[in-house]
Subunit: 460 residues, 4 copies
């Protein structure tokens, strides 16, 4: 492969003495072929983590913000852009995508339909444009062995979707959304996507005053059933994923967070057809931590895939920053370990370089940073898990339920009267004597020591 | 009834010309015996609204905050407090409660078990103390015809509940919680409570690090089943209610908001046993508006009862202010109307006077303000409903789904392929031509006019 | 003037019996020529309020958001857009602006330099383009008598400003910003702008890690001094205004809020050269209410002008909604009254129609709604002020400072020892007996009655 | 000293191989007598950091929260509490304080007046109680060499202060506040406090409706002048400190954040008399990061002292958690280094153990965690500083201002016209070519490597 990007292949340099701390020289923690054993299962690190490049951010994002034009400098802009048609341009960028993945050791990618190719004047024309780019992708996948983590459909960019796609009040727009999803599922099947994601960016409301929320939710539930039916019809067996976010661009998005999405799925009998694709910054906007969302999705058997990004808990919009917080990476990867990894899911960088990081090399630096912090998080989490650090704390904390009438209770037996008989005449002091200190300050300080010790080993 | 409070009975003065605007002279909008017809059902205003006094705030709150001691001046403090035992004091306050209700025209009240009587050294002793106060309440109820909207049990005040009641990791504390609920249900039965509320103030987590969230949720679900079994056993038929709140005192409370609570109930098969008791300030803490929570509870068939309070959307803790926002009162009462009222529920003032409003008369002023703003909200909402203002907007907005293949879709028929066939060759412009402007600015300005016109009529 | 907009001239219909509540028919509260007396000064309502149309939102906003393309339908798009050059287009829109103002009875407008005309390849070319549009504006102003409330310069849209304008670390960009401001001031002089606004959208930091905050603040302070010097040099005597906002697009904007901006001005000796232009939604983002910012600006003698918009206190970005909250309008206009109006300032609609309100008529409806709610707010505030409702409460509340040693203290005399001598042996009870209840619940309920009564009079 | 606490003296164990990660065994990073050189000045670590125990949290906090009673188990409760009078109890706790400091190697402490001794019926009696405890403290200080970092006065706990202390509208309460401060200053003088802190917990407003904010600010400014006069009179030369916080318990506290407090000080000519005492959790409540507040205080020459605590950026009230975030500790200590340390200030643990960490040993664990994370932060920050990591980035970033007309500009010369002449005919592309990428993703990843490498060295 020729050098489309003027940037070398990124190597693992972790553990080399004498290397300084600059994060631009290679991976310190992401060692793709290192064997990692989780609960007795051994795979290479790359096969556990399945990092994925998000086409829309990395290949298609001009670094616009609501107050300013795009700043991005991309090699495809200067290598003959002026002479290319939009379609030629769209095709050319596919080569950049695959070289980018190759140089970073990324094996997966993800895209929206509308990222890839320009719209035509009808959906038929639009699909035809898209298919030409998908042809190119398919050829490159066969050539390189790269895989599609998931694809999705943009039901939010075009102005027709101003009041939603599957929840729009306008029938023709709804029909368009349905038809658009149909073609996206065909592409998922053709490219063997491991999952298919629905992010309902405009599926929500701007105001309760004019919104029939019940009717809209009925519509989207039926829409999902049609989608599942069609997937079955064409034999697409990838995992369907919903991606919770509470708002932006809407004032309220129906898939607010993990629990809200579960309530929706259960209300409409869709819980067996979907898992969830979580995202750090979305969690913050819903008032949660990323590990909270991962925990509750995992325990519900709904942890499908992860968008590896972060935000700023004091900033009220989605900044989609590349991850750099070792605490969050550790805690999310701890849930990952308890989940036994992600099967059909992976870690997709739904993240964009800052508007001031506008050079091509920043795309590399940002992915390197994100891959390294999540690989570091996996290492810390795995060490804590192997030591039983947190699991033992939890086991001991609930130990009083492990026997007698309390164990029976956990097995479905018990009554208020029975517990009353047991406790009615115990004194307050006797009861409080069974309450143990949580020692959370010491637990958190020990977590710090794990981070320093496990990760510092590579520099010392 | 003798005058325990030095305050006259509050009368409806709405519509009297020449009365100035001071909100201390009587009700301007709450006219208890006025007949109100909602969807063909006619009741007196008091029987629709079922305002309730919250014993804990109005009778038992010293106006402490985390940085200062109590400021409250209450008549029961100065009428011989020094000579009374705690139990005598507890009994005496019941008389104040009933006079307070009488003077304000309130027919309902609500309490926690631990508000009413002092703890003993064992639960047996504690129950005995409580029963003496309940005896007094029962006698007053028979004497006055006042009713118990709901009661509940405090599984959060005593230090034993530092890690929860039904979700505590400590078995004896769990047993205590179970036994405490048992007695609360017996009281609910005895006093003929219309509902029974569970607010899980400490049912949540302080840190994911040491919390087995799944085990805790399993516990509380089984706890609720035991409670329902016991209610059935003793023939208590009041509605069980969960009260969502996202946090405080915990960092995360399991019953975060309406949708989270629905997810929980459905996960554990409890959805037929519970409805929800909503609260304005809790909604804000979860990032929602009060009417949002009311809407989604209503549409799920879960709108059980309302706590009439408000907070400050820019303040991050629960301030339980008496309501004074006509927008919110209108929108919540609009959902109330669409719900056909609240059957077993009512409007409970889970609200406290500000720490600077420490005089006895402030208890009256605050309830008058709260009753009046919700009565005003009902009047505005009902006028909008009768005019079809918002319902017509909604009906027209979704009208394109009322016929043909789209109506069929709403009836369970339809496929992606069918919609594709319909839309594939329509042009973008043709499709966008079916999208209508939402005119939200004009809708909101019209809502203002409704408020001014409906409510201003009483002064002009 | 020919009918560029297919919309009639908007009339005052307030007080006409039999008119329904629809807010699309005319003004209910804004009566431009009605004489209003504030503190003995009588002017027509339009001359007090000085409503202004914001060119960038109303004439130049395509209703794009970060997740979707523009939805706006504007008459200038369909009246021959395809045949026009960018410059012709820019010139044509000026005619629309002046008709729009005329039909709504708006006498003022405001613009950024970059809104008006396309950029050239150098600043010299850009200025030349701009000057042609300013020529047209000047002619229209002479023809119609309309006035420029303020103009400003966009130091944030072009990619060169990615790290700020006056605070950029890049010298050439700084020079560009300085030169751009120079020309903006020349335009302000030429068009006789009443004020000149600086909004420092990118004057802030993305990260403290790489920012020399002190050096940047030194730069911008010196930049402002150069601007003031140049204004003096060319005889521009309009008021300089800074516009506080805490963030967006930056993570932190230096002009965070009123107090931060005052600290900056005082630190650099600029406090006599500037006043403030406040905005509702900006206040929320800083954690404040709009009336808070108005209060503290007023008391510092810094209340220069107001941007009449609002946001959602639960939404973390700037939504620039047209105002519709009568509480906020009342409280802000109350500060306006205490300030004796705004002299060189006015009420500029820095507000955009919702993305779903994409029709030309929505521009009218939205301005009508905003003008009416602020005119309504003025009416309520003025009635409260004339009645002495709040002023009397305040006067009585602090009355104990009106005499004796406390009055002396307010006049600069007093010592800790003197107060100790006075209080040392008073008992706690004696002291608390001087503390009075605040009765805030009753005050807020009375405020509601003012709103209903004053505004309802027009419908009843 | 006898063993009042059943806990051993805490030792530095950092760097011992074979020690596991449990944070309960000793200090890993805080090595009190290790010599640390900052900018050429060498001191022992303990003399740089000056950690301080906060009497109110550690000795006087019962771990109450708004929904529950205290959980704290303290040795002084069980060693004969029942037989002691309140005064005896107050005296006894002083011995515990000094042993606690000794065992942790803390050399400083801080207190509010009202923490130490019970109130009497008059201020005269209250002062007499307090003086007895201060006698004991003085004796212990002489005996042990421990020092008072600062003291302060509670103008918020007693109900008389419900509307503020220095800003109360009630003259007698104001006089009480003045007299109380007088005695606090006398104690500061007597115990040789290094600073004196004013935290204006109730100096703010609950509602703008009834608050004369200007009059209140005039009062508190004059109050501060009286305090300064009295300090001068008695020869107290400790640093006066204001402590910003935006709200809680008030809805708005006047000392909102660093910049607001600076605006206040400059407005009233107090800027030479005060510096600031910052706190992490307070910063969050104001929408800032702790390092932001430290940065802006430092650059204003106002960085006086630090309260070492943290909160949760998604929790809207002050949780005063012991610090455990290495990122924040590093960034705050980086500002500390740039400030050359804190002279009269130190790091005071205005932090409380979690309500579930109710055992005496948790007081130790929590302080150990806090001391260690800030000592770790100092180590990382110092290494970055010595390497010039961030300083070099900043130097290079602004380098284009280091010469020619831009350097002149920084020296006070320059005009808009001059910059216009320079830039007017440069092309957009030429100008943008001078803009450099910020590479923030790589900078943040490098910061991670610093943390891992510097701190991991102690375990590897």
């Amino acid at each position: 492969m020729s050098d489309l990007f003027d940037f070398p292949k990124v190597e693992f340099i972790g553990g080399k003495k004498g290397v300084d701390f600059k994060a631009t020289q290679g991976f310190n923690f992401y060692n793709p072929t290192e064997e990692i054993t989780i609960n007795g299962v051994t795979k290479q690190m790359k096969d556990w983590m399945k990092f994925s490049v998000a086409y829309w951010h990395t290949m298609d994002q001009r670094m616009v913000d609501p107050f300013g034009e795009g700043t991005a400098q991309r090699p495809w802009d200067v290598n003959g852009e002026d002479d290319m048609s939009d379609m030629e341009h769209a095709l050319a960028k596919i080569d950049y995508l695959f070289e980018f993945m190759d140089k970073l050791g990324l094996e997966y990618f993800a895209f929206h339909d509308r990222d890839l190719a320009p719209q035509g004047n009808t959906l038929a024309e639009t699909n035809a444009n898209l298919d030409k780019v998908v042809d190119r992708i398919e050829a490159k996948m066969q050539e390189t062995g790269k895989k599609l983590l998931w694809n999705t459909s943009s039901l939010f960019t075009d102005k027709r979707f101003l009041a939603g796609g599957a929840t729009t009040p306008f029938a023709d727009v709804f029909a368009y959304a349905a038809a658009q999803i149909k073609h996206s599922l065909e592409i998922a099947k053709r490219l063997n996507a491991e999952s298919y994601v629905f992010w309902g960016g405009r599926e929500g409301y701007e105001s309760l005053l004019n919104t029939d929320t019940k009717r809209e939710l009925d519509h989207i539930a039926a829409f999902f059933k049609m989608a599942k039916n069609y997937a079955n019809e064409i034999g697409f067996t990838g995992q369907f994923l919903l991606e919770p976010k509470p708002k932006e661009p809407t004032d309220h998005q129906y898939d607010t967070d993990v629990q809200t999405t579960i309530a929706f799925l259960k209300t409409y009998g869709l819980e067996d057809d979907f898992k969830l694709n979580l995202e750090g910054n979305h969690a913050y906007l819903a008032g949660h931590k990323y590990e909270h969302e991962a925990r509750f999705a995992r325990e519900a058997g709904m942890l499908g895939s992860l968008d590896a990004n972060m935000g700023d808990k004091q900033t009220g919009w989605d900044i989609d920053e590349f991850p750099n917080d070792i605490y969050e990476a550790t805690m999310v990867m701890y849930e990952f370990i308890l989940n036994g990894g992600l099967t059909t899911g992976g870690l997709n960088f739904d993240a964009k370089v800052r508007r001031g990081s506008f050079k091509p090399e920043d795309l590399f630096y940002a992915h390197m940073a994100g891959m390294d912090v999540y690989a570091a998080g996996l290492r810390v989490a795995l060490k804590m898990y192997e030591d039983g650090f947190l699991e033992q704390i939890k086991q001991e904390r609930y130990a009083s339920f492990d026997q007698g009438m309390f164990a029976d209770f956990e097995n479905g037996k018990g009554s208020l009267a029975q517990f009353e008989a047991y406790i009615l005449n115990k004194t307050n002091d006797e009861i409080f004597a069974t309450v143990e200190s949580q020692h959370l300050e010491a637990i958190k300080a020990t977590l710090n020591n794990y981070i320093y010790a496990v990760l510092g080993a590579r520099f010392n």
